[in-house]
Amino acid sequence: MIVTRSWLNEFIDLSNVSNEKLYETFNSIGLEVDSIKQIEIPEKVVVGKILSCEKHPDADKLNVCQIDVGSGTRQIVCGAANVVDAEYVAVATIGAVLPGDFEIKHAKLRGVESEGMVCASSELGLPDTGKGIMILDESIGELEIGRELGSYKRVADTIIELELTANRGDCLSVYGVARDLSAALELDLKPFEYKQAEKMKLGIAREAEIHTEGEMDADLLYKLATLENIDNNFLLQLRLAMVAVEAEGKLAKILAYATHTTGVILRAYESSAFTNGDNKVVVRLRVKEKGLMEVQGNDNVVSVAGVYQSEDTLANDDTKKLLFEASYINPDTLVEAVAETSFKTDDLYYKTSRGSNPDLEFGLRFLAYLMDSYSDINCYEGALNVNVDRENEKVMVDSDEISSIIGMDVETAKIVTILKKLDFDINIVSDHVLSVTVPLFRHDIKHIQDVSEEIVRIIGINNIEAKPFVFAEKLRLNDTIDRYKAKKSFKNRAVGTGFYENVSYVFSERALLDKYGFSTLEEELELANPIAEELNTLRSTILVNLLIAAKRNVSYSRKSIPLFEIGAIFGTKREQSEVISFIFSGQIEGENVRNAGKPALIDFASFTQKVGAVVGAFELVPCTYDNGLIHPYQSANIIVGGKVCGFLSKLHPTVQEAFDLPDTFIAELDFDALLPKHINATPISKFQGVYKDLSVVIDKSMNYYEAAKVLHALDLPMLKDIYPVDIYEDEKLGDKKSLTIRFFIQSMEKTLEDSDIETVMSDIMTALQNECSAELR
């Protein structure tokens, strides 16, 4: 919503209110100021009167004007076509400096002396009022030849753009904004008084009638008029330009101006759209579904109240007989109905949907005042109208309750003063209880807290003293907090291991997930209105996002890219879970003197070590996950606490190529599986233990974990630890390989004797021979 200072001034006297005060007040009452712009008209731009205007002898498009600028008559060459219609104009005299550092000097145009310039609005830093020069008239104030244009307050105005919240439809008019200001500034509103002289004694009833069908939920008011010679004054054009309201044609401009001023929805129809065979104007109002109301003329729908008007019924500047309409429809009804019927809507819908001014009388009266001043209009006496008996909302307001909501004592009298200024009706029930009648234009106010908001904003929140809330102590640590702490500790470990935390959209591209064999949402559960193709579904893995991030980093010449992310993923039924994902791409470490500037690329062992440093101890077994990112021969299931909770893999070479990456490893683990668990300590032996190595020859295809499984199954009490330390293959071994396993043997009860160790080792060897077809090397 844009207003101007001088426009507001028509309803509220702002002469003692500075722009700073206005800015501060608007912000403090909840009408946030987006911008405030004081128009500065350059000095030496004055009102001039054109005495004569003749064609330039050598140029068709130029005119040579003799203009009285107060201090004398100047000859000025002007290129604007509309100068011939002008009497009073804005003249930049010699020495004036126009925006863009453009100084007016003596000039010769095609051989003719020119001492100044006749100005268009945009040349003076004013909004564009249309083609050609500005033609001034008394609408800006009394025209005095030679007077500085900048001294006209209505021209050198202040343009204030307000950002209105969705509930404040009542402030979508200059009048509404002035009303809010009047409460905040404690200034009275100037009454708008205009009594139209009824020039025509003919009553409207003779010419027109109105019929209704169904239960009305909208107010409509009609006036019939005949019209000759319509015109717009300068101020109207200038102000519409200032508030960025566009309207084609003079009549449309007047309607737009009246609506912007009063907030009442105003339309004008060609009366012929309603004229029947008997030459009578017949308006039929028919209630449609959901409380919408159709306006019909000659069995055609000419408009839907609050929604649109069909273009062929719009009255224009040439219309001789027209029907004016003011309308109001409850925005709650309207918005729902429009959403469900998907009617097309026109420019006025924004106002009607937020709640236009229900004071139709005021709107039409203001329109009539404008029409009367700038056109030859004859109105038929009286009006046709339909009024819904609307019940104003009534709220019982206890000033003690208001005080407790705000947390500060507010006197009843103060509440009364504020609400009255805002057009609420007050009935005092007792010394602290009020019965408050809410004006129709405040359809957003329904209960006491809404009323307390009015009080808060007019008092000013900054005038409320802050008070700490006193509460009863209670333990509020819960699972969510524990989870946050665990997450934080994983993050810190990841950072300590050299990974950077990534945050990416929970979205992904369905085609990409499909391509790499990740699950996607069931079709009927899919996003209905994605914002972009590459974000058209919920992700079922973070890895694709990490690949994209890695690729981006490669393009920024990063050689070592360690990223991790903890975040949500979604199953086919849109079930949400959390995973921790890693990617490591390129060099294993930075280039430095130790690696002579040539660090190795990340490899399976190093990546595993890094992931382990973050998530803690795990086992690896051959991978059973199936997706397109996995390298079939360098991938593993990650087992934590005996359960598979994710995988770790070299990136498949084709994907590596597709993303332009160097050697890359990835891992993704179910975060819940990693959450810290309760641990009980096991007793520690006091006796010395021994390490023993065993090298066995087994099938090449056999994995270490199969051998380990056999040995664990033995459940030997003295066998405390088993781990592989070497693997060896050569031609002589053929399809066999040599595996060296190290054992740690220790007793809880005694110092080991050789025989104890031998027993353990022989049990091990027997098991390996029997179950793994192993031979001693």
Partner: protein, 330 residues
């Protein structure tokens, strides 16, 4: 004697000194030989001879010890010297990643409220109309829904547009009093320089008996919170409108870039908008079946906080995993 002393002093390394030690103090050494002479010395002179011998031995021993210590020190110094390196070459070896500034900011916010004994609550990202809108006094077609472009699913589900549904869920599950924050990921269908389709919010809710929680309380905690986050800033409350609170306010801090003078970042107003808040609307309590209660609520965008606190110029860069940005937070 002098000759022996010189031998010790002239030893220039531990090996030579060891040889001297054997020569002097060894079983077949000079001193042993002298002591052996004792038995040939007649009784009365024996004592004086022995004393002289012991004295000489003590002097030699002292010389030897001093020399040994000296040589040992030289030896160690030599080893140390041989191990000298240019330490400045290795400063770049340390490898550390970095936490994401948005997550760090979120943690800092959580820390504040946990220290004030707020519970932390969470909820699902995929929500329904009731929890995300209806229960928050945002009926269908309410114009305020325009403020929140929503991602919908084909079955009518939606991605939560704020973390407020967590408040609704918590209130439906639990009786008052409530003191909670809900940090989380939220979604709006908006994508330009200042909007991303996903971002993070922290919302807070306090509910207690009717008449207990007031707007003045909200002012107290938010002023303190913003000064904890941004340091010594001025805090300004402006009336505003949110469907779920009434009265509502937007909260500004004095611009931390120009200290209120007016700059590009604060659009020359001297103020930065950082928070929305208000007294919980009775319709919200009605929707969750609470009676005779009062409460306040607030909500903030974590990205905005992170960007202001760390002077990060580009919102979208926060979601690109760009290590050039992240490594600045090591």
């Amino acid at each position: 004697m002098k000759e022996l002393e010189d031998k010790i002093v002239q030893a220039d390394c531990l090996e030579t000194l060891e040889k001297v030690r054997v020569e002097l103090f060894g079983k077949k050494g000079v001193l042993a030989a002298q002591f052996a002479k004792m038995k040939d010395i007649p009784g009365p002179e024996k004592k004086a001879f022995a004393e002289g011998l012991n004295k000489n031995k003590a002097v030699l021993q002292a010389k030897f010890d001093a020399q040994h210590e000296e040589l040992k020190a030289q030896e160690i110094e030599k080893i140390l010297k041989s191990e000298a390196i240019d330490v400045s070459l290795y400063g770049t070896l340390a490898q550390k990643g970095a936490l994401h500034p948005v997550m760090e900011t979120m943690d800092k916010i959580i820390d504040y409220f946990v220290a004030l004994n707020f519970a932390v609550e969470s909820g699902p990202m995929v929500e329904d109309d009731f929890h995300n809108f209806e229960a928050l006094n945002l009926p269908k077609y309410h114009p305020a829904r325009d403020m929140q472009d929503t991602f919908y699913f084909k079955d009518g589900g939606l991605l939560r547009t704020h973390t407020s549904p967590v408040q609704v869920r918590t209130m439906l599950e639990r009786k008052p009093p409530i003191r909670m924050i809900a940090p989380g990921t939220v979604f709006r269908r908006d994508y330009d320089i200042t909007h991303t389709p996903m971002f993070h919010q922290v919302e807070g809710l306090v509910v207690d008996d009717k008449g207990k929680v007031s707007f003045a309380n909200l002012k107290a905690i938010l002023t303190d919170f913003l000064q904890y986050m941004f340091g010594d800033v001025e805090v300004r409350f402006r009336p505003s409108f949110f469907p779920f609170t009434e009265p509502s306010a937007e909260v500004d801090i004095s611009c931390i870039f120009c200290e209120g003078e007016g700059c590009r970042i604060c659009s020359h107003t001297g103020w930065l908008e950082v928070l929305g808040c208000g007294i919980v609307d009775p319709n919200v309590f009605k929707a969750v079946g609470y009676e005779e209660v009062s409460g306040y609520a607030f909500g903030l965008g974590v990205e905005r906080f992170a960007m202001l606190m760390h002077k990060i110029p580009d919102l979208r860069s926060l979601f690109e995993g760009d290590i050039r940005l992240l490594e600045q937070f090591r």
